[in-house]
Subunit: 211 residues, 2 copies
Amino acid sequence: MSPRRDAQRNHARLLSEARRLFAERGIDAPLDELATRAGVGAGTVYRHFASRDALVRELYDTAVAELHQFAPEILGAETGWRSVELYLERLGAWVADSPFLPAVMRRVAELDPSYRPGAEFEAAIDGLVARAQAEGSLRADVTAVDLSVLVDMLGSLGQYGRQYLPFWRRQLTIVLDGLRARPGTTPMPVAGQAFAAFHDMSHAKGPRPAG
Amino acid sequence: MSPRRDAQRNHARLLSEARRLFAERGIDAPLDELATRAGVGAGTVYRHFASRDALVRELYDTAVAELHQFAPEILGAETGWRSVELYLERLGAWVADSPFLPAVMRRVAELDPSYRPGAEFEAAIDGLVARAQAEGSLRADVTAVDLSVLVDMLGSLGQYGRQYLPFWRRQLTIVLDGLRARPGTTPMPVAGQAFAAFHDMSHAKGPRPAG
DNA sequence: GGGTAAACGGAGGCGACCCTCCGTATCCTA
DNA sequence: TAGGATACGGAGGGTCGCCTCCGTTTACCC
């Protein structure tokens, strides 16, 4: 039995306003304000999301679902290099447009470290890198994790606010030129990381105390 | 007349613990906890910093002062290219090691948008870029602002926590290779920005509400 | 070492936010 | 369109963090 129509509308409205609120004021913004913005009473917030954590968890799941939409275009590109371009471009734009994501990821990992619904993408990204390196277009010393870190890096420019969104593609251009296989590239320092380590890292609670 | 020795010690201790606390828990972390961590009473926090905002402001000023230490090495490098490398490396490492900075910058800009003590560096960075481009080592289509954005981008990897600090230099290598002047670089899209716009942007409160 | 000024600590009043509760409104089915 | 079930709103009790206040302690000067 599906929920009443007003309940469906409020649920969607709350999720949508929560993205904007969390993006603007951080993940600990007052839920009373969320209620106000969504035009509902405080009680309605807690009827739909038992706690702030439940809301955060649902935002996380929504984000993972959105990720699936990108796969066909990125993996189906004509060349391996084009896949790399699309991977950085599409996901970078998506992260930049979802500035609430890093905090949400950290919070979810804090609540339940074993919850990793994004793991299914790892093999696909590995394959994408292998294909581009086999065709000789992507420098041989980068890993799939390096690319994922670059996506986060480019996406972090979303913190600057929507008025910056037209500009981040300049940095993307530099990064892509740095990824091309060509004579004279500088060898990458330090060993790369495994995906599991990357997950723990990108979901890390925050900087560990110094020393 | 200089303050009593215990007051000096507590002031320094509070600033140092505030960095760690804000890095771990965000800029709105409870000040009572700051007092506990610094081993002082709550009253002492407010004697040294009239409000949270005053503390944030002082952290900001401390950061700007730290910036001055980097100038001689970066600007005095033997070649323009080496200056570019040092600029990204030293400042990227510094930002990555100061994860409380972005929030502090935003808060200060919110409190007093006209406060811009970092403006003095702009001419120096412009000069650094001009020098490297004149010697033909830095691609001609990047601006000083692009480099500053790259510093922020690389520094954002500091959010991952200290255990990631050994790895971000891999991304730095890619970025530097992307900055080299060489045949076959991709033209930069969109026009670059002026420093004033960059300041407003990097100190922006957060994403503006969608459309 | 004694006196004074400076600084300290932490209890507690106050305000903000969390979340629940229940009388009221809305939706859906027949 | 009537009745029951579902969902809503917002007042309010409880908690937590902010910041002040003042009796006590510490540093400094002679």
